[in-house]
């Protein structure tokens, strides 16, 4: 099947008003998110109790990882110390930092400033990130749907039709022609890579 006869001519205004703006929007929102997250994080102070707990967990992790370099008895006595069933055992100390693991409904979920830094922050960061992604996808689907955006230079199989051509209900259209949502996804992926570095 020759591809030349299947080439569609797309309006250049699609390129000007959709392709480039989507790219710019993705990049800018990513930048905005990283900037606000660094600004919010800088004012937090880690309470000393949580540093201790994190240190304990780090030491137990090290014991598991590098314990083979210690003599058997020494490893054993350390293991007995950490896993002691005594009420005062280090792994049995209660802590706000650990409580949130129990169903996540602990008092620690009250407000962002009340939470100890660390897991909760990461969780919330991820949650806000997901929410933001969802919102952007919905907005784009709403505003930029119903038309073909661009043609990817490599051939795709029929299975990808549903994913890449959302909103374009032409069953005979070559799968290489994709819609705006997939362009948004692609630019978001590359922007993440660029930012990570």
């Amino acid at each position: 099947m020759s591809t030349d006869s299947n080439l569609l001519l797309l309006s250049p205004s699609i390129r000007d008003w959709v392709v480039f703006p989507l790219l710019i929007i993705t990049f800018l929102t990513g930048l905005l998110r990283t900037v606000t997250s660094t600004l919010l994080r800088s004012s937090k102070k880690i309470p000393p109790g949580d540093r201790q707990i994190r240190g304990v967990l780090a030491r137990c992790g090290r014991l598991r990882a590098a314990g083979g370099f210690l003599a058997k008895d020494r490893w054993e006595s350390r293991r007995r110390y950490w896993t002691s069933s005594d009420q005062e055992g280090p792994l049995r100390q209660g802590s706000k930092y650990l409580k949130e693991g129990e169903g996540g409904k602990g008092k620690a979920a009250a407000g962002p400033m009340a939470n100890p830094a660390g897991a909760m922050e990461g969780m919330m960061g991820n949650a806000s990130f997901m929410v933001q992604n969802m919102v952007m996808m919905q907005t784009i689907q709403h505003f930029f749907s119903g038309f073909v955006l661009l043609k990817v230079p490599f051939p795709l199989t029929k299975g990808f039709k549903g994913m890449f051509q959302r909103g374009v209900d032409l069953p005979t259209l070559d799968v290489s022609y994709v819609s705006s949502v997939s362009w948004r996804r692609a630019s978001w992926g590359t922007a993440r890579g660029r930012r990570r570095r």
């Binding site: 102070k45 880690i46 540093r51 304990v56 030491r59």
Partner: protein, 330 residues
């Protein structure tokens, strides 16, 4: 290389050469300004070098400029609410506070420095630099036991500080406390298991504990016997760095001890202490042979009479071990 690039290199490599830093940065002092971010690191380097060398006039000048720009540490008493005590809030830059503390320490005014660091810790309890300086002050002014106590409380809240554990082991060793040093070095090993000098030092600690105890068994240990543990760590050190003469000497001495005086180990049924196994003694003998050969290889041609003397001792010890094993077999 330009002075600024040289100073940057010293900063990046974390090298401490006060004379060099001072000679490079003093000429720049007139052109430095605390408003420029690039100059701030040079100010810091100059202050620390000045404290090291005792050039207090220069340090006072630099600190004055920084305090003007960023604010010295002060305790501000806030207006008291009726019926409550007035709250004290700490204001000022903590980084400048640390530098000021170092200046006070350099002048010998440890009480003001301690007060300043405690103030910094009320401002931010997670200020690691301030807690470390408090430990350093204890080490400078107090007994080693005091220093150990303060370092232990620092390590309670910062247990992942490897350098802290290393420092603790040195403090214990300075008091001859083998067991404490061994515990501290074990922590270092857990963080840094592939470092041959930690294994060597730990082997030496176990050797010290074993030679000082009855039957080569310390009350906290059962099973292997400490001399065998020392042997293992020396062997590991050699595994990590072949030809390490300190570890070779340790291996030779500890394998000789464990061959001639095998530790009593716990009976498998958990009863009385019984003699160590014959297999373990054979391992000890082989390790002793290996150590002697390696020492010969490493000291060949060097050290003159000392090398020959070492070989002679090694040969005699080897014969001793063989004789002991033959006696045991009878």
């Amino acid at each position: 290389m330009k002075p600024r690039s040289q100073l940057e290199y010293l900063r990046q490599q974390k090298l401490r050469d006060p004379a060099l830093v001072f000679s490079l940065s003093l000429p720049l002092l007139s052109s430095l300004s605390p408003k420029k971010e690039a100059d701030l690191a040079i100010f810091e380097q100059l202050i620390i070098a000045g404290c090291d060398l005792g050039e207090f006039e220069v340090v006072k000048q630099c600190l004055g400029l920084l305090k003007e720009q960023f604010g010295a540490i002060v305790k501000v008493v806030q207006p008291a609410e009726p019926g409550k005590e007035p709250k004290v809030k700490v204001e000022g830059s903590s980084r400048v506070g640390i530098l000021e503390g170092k200046f006070l320490e350099a002048q010998g005014d440890y009480s003001s420095a301690t007060e300043l660091y405690n103030t910094l810790l009320t401002q931010n309890p997670a200020n690691v630099l301030a807690s470390k300086r408090l430990c350093a002050i204890q080490k400078a002014t107090g007994t080693p036991a005091d220093a150990v106590k303060s370092l232990l409380s620092y390590l309670d809240s910062n247990p992942t500080d490897v350098a802290g554990w290393w420092e603790l082991s040195e403090l214990y060793l300075s008091q001859g406390h083998w067991q404490g040093a061994a515990t501290a070095l074990e922590e270092v090993i857990l963080f840094d298991p592939l470092s041959h000098d930690v294994h060597t030092k730990l082997g030496e600690c176990y050797y010290g504990m074993a030679s000082g105890s009855k039957d080569g068994v310390c009350k906290d240990f059962s099973g292997e016997g400490m001399m065998a543990m020392a042997r293992r760590h020396f062997a590991e050190a050699l595994n990590l760095k072949r030809g390490n003469l300190r570890a070779l000497m340790g291996l030779r001495m500890s394998s000789r001890e464990s061959a001639l005086r095998p530790a009593k180990v716990n009976d498998k049924k958990g009863g009385a202490l019984v003699d160590g196994s014959v297999a373990d003694i054979e391992v000890a003998q082989k390790l002793h042979e290996f150590a002697c050969e390696e020492i010969e290889r490493v000291t060949k041609g060097k050290y003159g009479d000392l090398g020959a003397g070492l070989m002679e001792i090694g040969r005699r010890e080897g014969e001793e071990i063989v004789a002991a094993m033959a006696n045991k077999a009878e």
